[in-house]
Amino acid sequence: MADPEAVIADPSLSGHAAVSLPSAKEKKYDRQLRLWGSSGQEALENAHIALINVSAVGTETLKNLVLPGIGHFTVIDSGRVEEADLGVNFFVTADSVGRSRAEAVSELLGELNPDSEGTYINAAPSDLLESSPETFSKFTHFLISSPVSTSFLFNLQSRFPNTPLFFLYSLGFVSSLRISVPELTVVETHPESTVDLRLLNPWPELSQLMEERTKGLDTMSEKEHGHVPYVLLLLYYLKEWKTQYGTYPSNYKEKSAFKDLLRNGMRTDVAGGSEENFDEAYAAVMNHVKKTEISSSLKEIFKDQKCEQLGAESSDFWIIARAVRDFYNENSELPMSGTLPDMKAESKDYITLQKTYRRKAQEDLDKVEASVQKHLASVGRDASAIPRSTIETFTKHTNYVKLIRFRTLEQEYKVDDTHAATVKRQIAFDEGMDESLIYLTIALKGYQKFIDDRLASSSTSLHPGETDESIEADTEDVLKNAKHYLALLAQKTGETRDPTAEEVVPQLVVDWVGEIVRSGGGELHNISSMMGGIAAQEIIKIITHQYIPSNNTILVDGIKSKTAVFEL
């Protein structure tokens, strides 16, 4: 976000003499830049998403991507705008009835934001994939809305296994989103806090600062005593505790006793009856007096084959992860984030303490950077190929970085063992509560099979429940498909049962099938709009590599106003 609109030169400001003001773009995107910053915005601007099949849920999702400034989008659909679209899709008008649906919606979506470039292809996605698959290679993300055949989904994903894929259903009061990305690494996960005070293993500089600032603690003036930063107070009393007991307080009981020690140190003959810095120290005991444990997600990353074996194809993420692992193996601790929370203190004391933490973080970063350079050289890349700022973003978030490998659509729809076990486990988990939306996923499997059968036949109606007359027969068909899927799950999980016995379908599957057939394949705008918001959030997280997306299926129940996430 360079080219600031204006600069103010103020001679009284030392150092940075020029004061930069926000650019026009920064003003327009101010409310979102506060969430994902200029790096997130840049990623968004470089993305090119394809909407495969026009639907209200698809255009609503695009709306929420065009507004924040996604670089490009392409709409692919061979249909024409119908009268019925006017009642559910905001991006068609009465004038567009009969026109190419892809063209009409891309026009009205493009109008939302001049920064976003929209185009369309008036073709059936499955034909296009057969006739010119190269068309799809320019897209960075696929957004697909039902109805499509399962085989189209498989084909698309097997031809473009590295392109993140989002698959949507929106049927009456229910909706779902399936996300599949082969490997997603997130550094900026935006945790609530990245504070790591190192109270149980202070480095010499920090200990020295503590000694200096707490010298003669008992005889200090009221002002001095009430302004010792709580971090230094904790270090002081921890040292005292260790001298007495030989170890640091570790369990709840010891920490409570340690809190008593702090309380005894606090002066109460002061205005207000207590000292704020001691109150802060007291409040920090349970959370901060502990050794930093490596998060399970970081452990997984350290153990990963990609961390172990670097090569020319290794991404920057893996090279930095490896350097951080080297650092950990050498120092038995992670590089410091350098973050210090605010606390009651004199300005000078606080700044000194903050600098001490920051200096340690910079020293750790130096070591990680050296290691990154070594690894880059060893895989034949330029040693300065990864900027220090990128490495620093990593070391500021080390314990919070995340790796997600999403399962493919084939793994789910062909019901591999993992899928079968997951669904069975979810059903068992829900036994007796009848609340879980896992039953909705089963009903949706029955629906997808119905669509597949209809697409393969020459039937003119595609969805179950399109007419009142067909409801009964269609419900039967979808239920039969759901039963078939349940039988497959049972077989995969090694359930032994009488093969002639009638498959028992849980009542909630029957209900959800009923609800799906009720919609006759039609969307309700509210539900599509809600899912459009959810899908856009997830797509933005994956495009920006910030925040943590859902793995891998999100369900929306518009009846009970709730959602659920399953890894299917």
């Binding site: 924040p68 009642g87 606080y350 925040y547």
Partner: protein, 423 residues
Amino acid sequence: MAVGYDVEKWKYLRRVLERAGPFTDKDSFDASMVKEALKDVKILVIGAGGLGCEILKNLALTGFKNIDVIDMDTIDVSNLNRQFLFRSSDVGQPKATCAANFIKSRVPDVNITPHFCAIQDKDIDFYMSFNSIICGLDSVEARRWINATLVNMVDWNNPDTCKPLIDGGTEGFKGQSRVILPKMTSCYECSLDMLTPRQAVPICTLATIPRQPAHCIEWASILEWPRVKGDLKMDTDDPEHITWLYTTALKRAQEFGIEGVTYTLTQGVVKNIIPAIASTNAIIAASCCNEAFKLATNTAPFLNNYMMYTGNEAVYTYTFEHERKENCPVCGEQNEPTNVTIRKDVKLGEWIEELKARADIQLKRPSLMGLGKSLYVQQPPQLEEKTRPNLEKLVSELVGNGEEVAVSDSALPFSLRLRVLYE
């Protein structure tokens, strides 16, 4: 322009209007009446901002025919990343009017009436004329006002006076939606303590020991501005004013060795900016409108009564029944004062600051009335001047043990009763 639903346009909507689903309450759903009912519903949308734009679009595409929208704001360039009914050429225009015009041009078979004014400018008759109200506001004060107004309107001799209030709010990737049936379910005031009031930094920190960039910015806006600029009123929308605050804060930060004062942060701190994105607004607005639709049609049971949404880490929703507070100052049946215990050495001015920070009070400019006397009153200025000396007096000098104090704010149509007890 009254249009029925038996046209091709409403094919999909008709399916849920004509067919009961497995979860539909068959006793309250009447397929023969539902279309008539939906056509006649009169609904009020409060706010035409990020949530409001979405709400209007959703209602128009849900078959609602009579919609009013009220908003006192005009369009700013920073609205354009999410308020999709506006274009850059609309900057400076009233939001309510622009939004209504856009919807009418896109969905012609709906009546939308804009009101470019504050909600407080409308009288009870106005609010009484609607069947339900959807609120997409970012102001706690305005929500408290409309909530209290609707609760006060309820008259059980006439059940039509109970107007469902559907409220939505967002912040970054998070948001919430809820359904309030005045006097029947928990109201906005009942749940006020779920919002944590913004922690104020003590003036002495700002004045003498700043440590954070925000401290320098607040010093510039709270202390330096009035000192240097005198009576000139600060306008946080005036870039010159923000620039002055920014450079002033930056100088102070350099003096103390504090890093991180930027123009964006300055603006964020003085305007208390909450991050906002299109997608979160879409989720919450759609949830609100889905509830409005279910309330109007009984096609499926409606939300009872609160949904929280979090998108920072995966997607997480928590749907629960928020309980009514028995002693809610707005909808509580037992109108007992709240007991507050205070020390005898607390001055009235200090106590008022404490009260402002309390989660269940959160008043910006509270006035306090004791037994038959004004303790401190903000309006009119003569009375403020007269009661100002009380701020330096001890509460214990002014209020007896066990006596009641009424706390009010000119922006709210109710007062809170507190019973003072001394430690």
